[in-house]
Symmetry: D3
Subunit: 316 residues, 6 copies
């Protein structure tokens, strides 16, 4: 009724766990494909069956190995396109190169725009993603997309907790406005960790806290945790400024080494995150709470397929 055949849900090699959960949510089979790697590392995806006319969703997060994952995504889009898929949606829960979103120094690229162009030139009709580092990246695409947020998942989780004496703090100033929204949703005050390069020694960096955290329980928020280095700095300075319990909340668990070691050694009450990137067992700590984005993605895929509102999902 809406111009395309049935939903066909494919999992790229980077998102087997998450795609499996989405398939379960939708009560649909997860469709497999061959991915041949030649000795020169060139990849060749090969579908097991036809996708002609169907409404195809390919789930592939762009975490490490990042360039192989990008190329697999693009080759699969080309494959689906040349096999005459009815509509191709690239479901990229974690987008790569999102921090390369502007020229904050001269003579550098804008990697996120390049990636958007590559996804479009490969032939994707639409994309879905979660919590882009900067909302403006949506404007790098000319194809329509669903840019979702795990904000509600994460903030609702904390609203269910005791928030007495709580203050929300961001890990750095780049997350200032989103931190404000988080604090507003929870009804708490707000603080920031500021990092500033020293004038005389660009390699030294002064860290300070702006706002009041003395005697407060802090919910430290950010969009992603990579090595955890910034979190370590933030927890240290917050403690110095008299913070009591500190919990950590973020969307994208990249957790590249030594992230797990860093997090293990910190006095964090709780680490709350989503599964936009598959998290192998060995990276899971006792104080981690993982909130699944699979119901969110599954529901949005269903609504996108049926031509129904996605905004409604969020009372928008």
């Amino acid at each position: 009724m809406y111009g395309y055949g049935d939903i066909m849900l494919f999992s790229g090699s980077a998102s087997r766990d998450l795609a499996g959960e989405i398939a379960e949510y939708l009560s649909l089979p997860l469709i497999d494909y061959d991915l041949i790697e030649f000795p020169n590392q060139n990849l060749l995806p090969r579908l097991h069956g036809s996708v002609r006319g169907q409404d195809v969703y390919l789930v592939q997060s762009l975490n490490t190995p990042v360039h192989r994952n990008i190329m697999e995504l693009l080759l699969m889009i080309d494959t689906l396109n040349r096999d005459s898929a009815g509509r191709i949606t690239a479901v990229v829960p974690y987008m790569a190169y999102a921090r390369s979103d502007k020229k904050d120094q001269p003579r550098v690229p804008i990697g996120a725009r390049l990636l958007a162009d590559m996804i479009e030139v490969a032939g994707a009709d639409r994309y879905m993603t979660i919590d882009l580092h900067a909302g403006q990246i949506q404007g790098f695409f000319s194809i329509p997309g669903d840019v979702l947020t795990a904000f509600h998942l994460l903030s609702d989780y904390f609203i269910g907790k005791d928030l007495e004496n709580a203050v929300v703090s961001t890990v750095d100033l780049g997350f200032a406005k989103k931190g404000r929204n988080f604090a507003a949703k929870l009804g708490t005050p707000l603080a920031f960790v500021e990092k500033r390069r020293a004038q005389d020694d660009p390699r030294a960096r002064a860290t300070s806290v702006i706002g009041d955290v003395e005697g407060c329980n802090v919910i430290l928020v950010d969009d992603e945790v990579l090595t955890g280095g910034s979190v370590v700095e933030a927890v240290e300075i917050l403690k110095q400024h008299g913070a009591l319990d500190i919990s950590l909340s973020f969307a994208h668990p990249l957790l590249v080494p030594p992230a797990v070691e860093n997090l293990r050694n910190l006095p964090l009450k709780e680490i709350v995150m989503t599964n936009t990137v598959d998290i192998p067992e060995e990276k899971r700590l006792g104080n981690m709470t993982i909130l699944s984005v699979a119901p969110l993605l599954g529901e949005v895929i269903r609504r996108a397929h049926e031509g129904r509102s996605v905004g409604e999902l969020f009372n928008e």
Copy 2:
């Protein structure tokens, strides 16, 4: 020697003053064109002479009347292109629709990307602009551009002043990172005015200060002043928090009513701004200091024409 003829500098109807200063800086004539407006408001630009093969720069800020100014810009680009200009650079000191840079609510456009696409489809080869609301907007363009900043002009001005007991504060959290850079350049502490919508009444808004301004002289920074409403709120709350002298610094003097009245009534020590938008005499107040961006734009135009580094200008 670099593939194009001579510089030809045109002024659109929105930037006569600034373009005149640039022409003076470059010791070049400012070239005029007819702009016929028919009774149905349709515009017809008409050049006085040929631009064939030349290196054309068209200066046009996109302040009010904004849509007429946009259309004049686009029609001129088409005119220059169809008259076989060698290279066309749209010099847009103030870009319109820059705050429509992301979908921060569902079912709205991304106006800044649309405008970038319109400038490209009209046939511009390059663009120049100053202090985009968000650096990511550069990624909305696929043509190359020089995105300049008045940051050095403004911060250097304050460095020449007595900065004892000074603190930099931003008007809101959207300017947090740029405010940090300003404070770092001046070597002062940092504070923020936070505006938060009330949970129970979305029309009410609570304003607070994050960081310490008690007994300090505040340099209040932002990228533009439109009606001045945010500045009024910020000055009020800063005074409540014990701020002493307050100076205001920003790049783009849009100053639409009642901005001048607002600024006149505020206890501001000094208002420091640039002339990216032409400022008529009647909008000038005694405590205003206007730093001209004409030497900056003129120098960049010269270097762009000669194929020399622009970054060098900023020791980059």
Copy 3:
């Protein structure tokens, strides 16, 4: 059944009356949206609900304020596209910049091609319009469109009248071929008003009549009336050449001042026009007959939605 969801009919701010009539014809609700105007005149349309997968028609004539209306149209197309509309049709009963369709002097733009490119780059899938100034403008679009004509409405109206002793005359030579078709349909002779710039004084203009109108009732035809200046000249010279009753017929009632005054003062038997542009009460004169294009547009929208022939409507 034809690849898109239901018809959703939106009215832009320029065409509330006409869009309302179309909605009535189709027995469909007319869908509203917010159009926020910021103090810097930047516009922000915001939909009230989702258009995902639907077959959307946006009615917006491009009369004055022309540039605001153009930008509203383009921003809405971007909004609909980014909200994943199934198909977007720009219904522009009166197209702007249609007289800027060629370079009849050097160093001018081709505004109509620029506008077509802007509509395409904004993301429209199709367009509909009525009586383009030149049929070639259809070739400025690469997207398909329905270029309709009010010719049948207007000529059928006169065929129902007494045509004895009638002659069709055009207001100028630009309408010569369409005037011929009008005369052929009515079975009357044909004449032209010719305007010619004087050789020695380009500001003077000689007006004459080619063909015989002596003792005839004249139906004076054109595509639009803007200020009515040409009509005044034409009526005067026709009267000088012995015309008896003169009626006026045209498609687009732009009627910018002093059009109504001009028309009121002319000895016109009847003024027959359509409502491609909304006509406020105060512009309506006693001798005006307004033929609605709403049934035409409504029927074409229905057929476009259902995948049925539009040409059949005209026995073509």
Copy 4:
């Protein structure tokens, strides 16, 4: 000095004579290339030497054999592009498909836009042409072009003659406005031949004259002569209306059979035309005057190469 190497002038197989004259005007060699035709009619152009970085002009009119000539033009553009020409200008004195410029009936193509797209997709940077059937066709191209006119050549020729008692008449109403300009330049009155399909029998056609030619010497004007059928009709009806001497003036001498027979049999005082299409000896009649466009094209090529004004040529 203007970004490209030297002029290289190529002649396509359709325009050997004209290109030769242009080369002579410019004192440049005319460059040859191989054009292999395989038994399946597929063409293979092959350059004799490199065009890398040069400013290439390819002269090729699109008269019969029209599709072979089009394909030769496109293949040569591709060849020049893949051989890294610095700039490629398609010089097409007579453009094909120019009468397929709008959908004057449903379910037909717009061939002229298609041809423009083909020339662009093949890789031309610019084009030059003479007296397009409709000026709007320039808007079908997004690349810049020089659309020249032989109007001055032709009208200046007649101005040098005795114009007493002269009237300009067009062959049909499609040439009405250009006929008016011709008459205005000569300072003569104006008339039109009108052709109208009969209401009851669409195959029958009534011809009449609008305007007064009784006792006048008529200069009959049009843009091209194909078979001469319209000219035959026009001369006949003009004679019936009392015309004395009739001269014929047009730009494009397509002259496909039986044009020469038609023209030979008509009582024409003089036939004045240009050589946008090569005219073999056997098509030349005693009363023909052929005005060469080679100096015009040569001069425009020189100015385009040197980045100088073309409009100046026409005191514009």
Copy 5:
């Protein structure tokens, strides 16, 4: 159910016979259109009825008159597009310019890429073709396509024959890999005719056989027969090397003169080919077997329309 209306099957003027067979296979009417040719050879296709929203297939092989056939194809695509067809598939059983697929000498075009670009710019959504000269040509298209093969038809035919003592030989080395596949399918040995330009005289050409054909029955394979010149050479040298019976097998029967004379005079046991190009009665010889590709094309059209797998057809 799959986004488009009904199948509408059109036959271009080059493929009346084949399109008729496809229509019969699909039990669908073959839809006709007018193709007007003006005296200047410009073509004007005109549809008899609307194609709005329908799933249109246009069958047109690109044999001689090749450029007229190409232009008819492109004009029809433009016509269908501007008449708002739901989806347009260019069914081109024999693609022109396929041997112009690379620059095997400097300063030549890549005609096949140019043709692909022309088909795309005209507005085709998809294409179908059979046995491209080089598989890489599929990569010249960015739109999806079904590149089919008559390989199974031809090889299955021979499998049904007595293959004792058979060897497969290619006409030249360009067909080496496809010849290998043919031999592998039949389970026979393989040989090649090699043609080599002489070092000292580039016009002389030495022909030899690589592999063993002495005392064998040879199946000589190629993709197309144009004039038959290569076949004549091949048969001669194979006979010299002791070949017994020789049969000939190929997909595309271009058969331009003197192909039929050449084939008639050769001692060929059987000539097996398809009808991708219509074969008039006078080109048919007694030893020819023509295998129709109509069921193949018909079945693929049906599956493309219904969104079902095409690969399944070939057990893939």
Copy 6:
């Protein structure tokens, strides 16, 4: 004089050795840039100085790590473009994904076209490469390029040797035509190694020799050596058919494990190859002769910069 500033020669991280040799050939400095790799593997190239208006050549072969090398190439092109380089040429001596040049099975991508599109969308103006796996890949690009060949280097080397009793053999049938050209240049006979999948067991493969190698010295030719597996098979079967000395000649030394072990263990008289891919010391064997392509690339870069013929280099 040719529209761009000076040559600026950059080396990507994959081609330090080759780029160094080219710089030496051209007596130009090799320009360095930073390539930052973040913990999430995202890359950030950063130039040391401006490239504004210059004629930039970036040398980067696409061997392993292939996807990182591809992304570095694309990011650098974006960087150069956004830094306003005058012209950007991607010099890719070895192109990746070149064997993914057609759909030789259903439901696979055409990786080489995808890669070409990615290079174009990133903003390259031109490309250079050596011995593409299939010449048709040049047609995947719409930007112009110089597709060079090491054929002359390699064949000239053998011509200088004693060729008595020599025969050229290809490693498989995919190289048949290029092998023929090699043999023709050397004036030797030709043979092929044929590999054929068994009908009954698709994993088994029969290898044979077509043509006569008994008692001959064989020059075994191919375009690249990856793991050397095919060479091992070919040498074995050639020896079985009585070949005497065997030499190996190819362009691209990918040499991924166990290539070096394979080659070391083979009874090869000589291994002749180029350095399109940097060859570390530990991969060099005693019987290897490495012919540098640096003079070829250097000379072509010089000619491309100066707008001189490249074909002349090869007497073409």
